[in-house]
C-alpha cells in the first residue's frame, strides 16, 4: 500500500518536474553487444540430424510407459512448504532441518573466519590449558566431598521431610569447578549487548534509535524489553518499553569482541579497565560502555550524522564464557585483551 502510494506520488512529481517522456523519445536505440551476435551462432542445428528410425517411433508410447511405471515421478519444482509453526515432535508435518535453505530458520554463512577465533584456537587455548594445569599422579582419586546441601539438624518436628538446607553463606548453589583439561578449556560462548534508555519512558522514538545503534554495532536483530515494575526515581512505569538487547554467538560474537577490543577500548581516555569485581560468579563478566564509546564504534563513526544528536545510548556488554567461575573467565578475557583493575573478586 505504502509503495503504491509512493509510486503515484513520484509519478506526479516527475510529470510536474522534468519531461522524461520527451527525453525518452529523443534517445537513439543502443545495442550493448560488442560483436555481431550472428557470428557467434553455431551453424549446425538439430534440424539437420536424421529423424528417429521407424521402430523407435513405433515403440514410443509415453502414456503406456507412465502406466507401466506404477509410481509418480517427483515434481521438477521443489514444492515443499515448511510449516510456519512447530507443532511438536509427534505432528506429521515436521519442519526441515535448519541447514536446509527451505527452512524458515536457515541462516547462510559463516562468511568469514574472525581473527579472534583463529588467535584463540592457535594460541590462547593451549596457553590457558598450560597455565591452569594441575598435576595429578597416576592412580590419584579425588577425596570425596561432603554433601553440598545440608540437612536440618535439630529437635524440631518440623525439620522432618523438609527440603534440604542451602549451602553455607548463601542460598545459591554455585557451579562446580572441574580441573582444567584439554576438554574444558574456557571459551567464549556468547555476548549480550544491553542498552537501557531512560528517555524511552517519555519518547519511544529514542528507543528506536538505540535499537538501530545496537543493531549497527552488533550485526544482530535486537529484542525489546519492557519494564517489569515501576521505579519512580528512574521514571519507569510498568509495561513501558525501556531497553534493547542483542544476543551474539559465533561469528558475530567474535567480530563484535574484536572490534571492541582493538578499536573501541584503546580509544577510551583514562580507561583503567574492567572492574575486578565484575561477574556473576559463574563465568559471565559485564562491563559498560558510555555513549561516547559507543559512538566510536567504526559502524557508528562512519555514519555518525545518521543518528540524532545525543540519542546514541551507552550499553552494557556481557561476555558469556564456558568457565564456571569468574577467575577462569577473567583469565580468558585478559588473555583476549580486556584489562582488569582493582580488587579481583571471585
Amino acid at each position: 500500500m505504502a509503495l503504491r502510494e509512493l509510486g503515484s506520488i513520484f509519478g506526479l512529481a516527475s510529470r510536474s518536474g522534468t519531461r522524461p517522456v520527451v527525453r525518452c523519445a529523443n534517445l537513439p536505440i543502443r545495442r550493448y553487444a560488442s560483436t555481431d551476435a550472428t557470428q557467434d551462432l553455431e551453424p549446425a542445428s538439430s534440424f539437420s540430424a536424421p529423424p528417429p528410425s521407424e521402430d523407435i517411433v513405433k515403440s514410443y508410447d509415453p502414456v503406456a510407459q507412465s502406466r507401466r511405471r506404477g509410481r509418480r515421478l517427483p515434481p521438477s519444482r521443489y514444492q515443499f512448504r515448511p510449516p510456519k509453526y512447530y507443532r511438536g515432535p509427534l505432528h506429521p508435518h515436521q519442519p526441515p532441518p535448519p541447514s536446509d535453505p527451505s527452512s524458515r530458520v536457515f541462516q547462510p554463512g559463516p562468511f568469514s573466519l574472525p581473527r579472534l577465533e583463529q588467535t584463540y584456537q592457535s594460541t590462547i587455548q593451549p596457553d590457558l590449558m598450560t597455565l591452569a594445569y594441575t598435576h595429578f599422579p597416576p592412580g590419584y582419586t579425588a577425596p570425596p566431598k561432603g554433601a553440598r546441601l545440608r540437612s536440618w539438624e535439630g529437635a524440631s518436628p518440623y525439620f522432618k521431610n523438609r527440603p534440604l538446607r542451602g549451602p553455607r553463606g548463601s542460598d545459591v548453589l554455585r557451579l562446580l569447578r572441574q580441573p582444567t583439561t584439554f576438554r574444558n578449556v574456557p571459551k567464549l560462548t556468547g555476548v549480550t549487548v544491553h542498552s537501557m534508555v531512560k528517555e524511552a519512558n517519555e519518547d519511544p522514538a529514542v528507543l528506536d534509535v538505540a535499537k538501530m545503534v545496537v543493531q549497527a554495532i552488533t550485526n544482530a536483530r535486537t529484542k525489546v524489553h519492557k519494564a517489569r515494575m515501576s521505579v519512580i526515581q528512574w521514571g519507569h512505569r510498568e509495561g513501558r518499553v525501556v531497553s534493547v538487547t542483542a544476543d551474539l554467538t559465533g561469528e558475530d560474537m567474535y567480530h563484535f569482541l574484536g572490534k571492541t577490543i582493538d578499536v573501541v577500548l584503546p580509544r577510551i581516555k583514562d580507561w583503567k579497565g574492567v572492574k575486578g569485581s565484575s561477574g556473576d560468579s559463574s563465568g559471565n563478566l559485564t562491563f559498560g560502555l558510555s555513549a561516547e564509546n559507543v559512538a566510536s564504534f567504526p559502524e557508528i563513526e562512519v555514519n555518525y550524522d545518521m543518528y540524532p544528536p545525543k540519542m546514541i545510548p551507552g550499553c552494557h556488554v556481557t561476555v558469556h564464557t564456558s568457565a564456571t567461575n569468574d577467575r577462569d573467565a577473567r583469565l580468558l578475557l585478559s588473555s583476549i585483551g580486556i584489562p582488569f583493575y582493582g580488587k579481583l573478586v571471585d
Binding site: 543502443r30 535453505p101 527451505s102 536457515f106 593451549p126 597455565l131 594441575t134 598435576h135 585478559s334
Partner: protein, 187 residues
C-alpha cells in the same frame, strides 16, 4: 505510519520507473531531498503549519530509522529446484565434514600437548635426589631439601590468576614482516 511524512527522507533512494528505464547517457538531474517546504529563490517567509503549543518537530533522522526498522527486508524461505538443492546439500555436507575433521584435528593436538605436559610433570615428580630419574613408582634417593624441588616449582600457581600482561593479547596479523623493521630506509 503515514507515507507522506517519510517521503523527503527517502527521495534519493527511490526513482520513478520512467527515469530508471532511461539509459544513463544524459547526466540525470541530481534529485535533492526537499529539506523543507520553503520555495526556492524567495525571500518571503514561508507559511508553515502552525505548531501547537509545546509540540516539537520530530527529527527526520528518527523517522528514517523507524521506517527502516519497521520495513525489514526479510527474504522468504528459499525454494531451490531439485538439482540446486542437491548441489547445496553436497556443499553443505562437505563443509560439515571439513569442519568436523578440522575440529577433531585441533582436539587431538590439544590432547597431545596435554599428555606431553602430564608426562613431563610426572618425570619431574619422579626425579631423584641426584637429579637422575628414580625407579618407576616411587621417588628415589635420600630425603633431602633438593628432593622434588623442580616439581614443586613447576606446580606453583603464584601470579597465574592475576591475568596475563596486556601485550600478550596483541592481535595476530600478517605484519610486521619477517625482517621486522627496515633500518636502511631513507626518504
Amino acid at each position: 505510519m503515514r507515507t507522506s511524512a517519510i517521503i523527503p527522507a527517502f527521495r534519493p533512494t527511490f526513482r520513478c520507473l520512467s527515469r530508471r528505464t532511461t539509459p544513463l547517457l544524459s547526466p540525470a538531474r541530481p534529485i535533492h531531498p526537499r529539506s523543507s517546504q520553503t520555495a526556492l529563490f524567495s525571500t518571503t517567509a514561508p507559511l508553515l503549519k502552525r505548531s501547537k503549543k509545546g509540540e516539537q518537530k520530530k527529527d527526520i533522522r528518527i523517522t528514517a530509522i523507524q521506517y527502516h526498522l519497521r520495513h525489514p527486508l526479510n527474504p522468504r524461505p528459499l525454494r531451490l529446484s531439485r538439482l540446486r538443492a542437491l548441489r547445496h546439500w553436497t556443499i553443505h555436507r562437505a563443509w560439515q565434514l571439513h569442519k568436523a575433521a578440522s575440529r577433531r584435528a585441533h582436539e587431538l593436538e590439544l590432547e597431545r600437548q596435554y599428555n606431553s605436559m602430564r608426562d613431563a610433570c610426572e618425570a619431574l615428580r619422579l626425579i631423584g635426589d641426584d637429579g637422575m630419574p628414580a625407579s618407576a613408582g616411587t621417588p628415589g634417593g635420600t630425603m633431602g631439601k633438593e628432593l622434588g624441588r623442580l616439581y614443586r616449582v613447576a606446580m606453583e600457581k603464584k601470579g597465574v590468576w592475576a591475568g596475563v600482561p596486556i601485550e600478550y593479547a596483541r592481535m595476530q596479523v600478517d605484519y610486521p614482516s619477517r625482517e621486522g623493521w627496515n633500518h636502511g630506509w631513507t626518504r
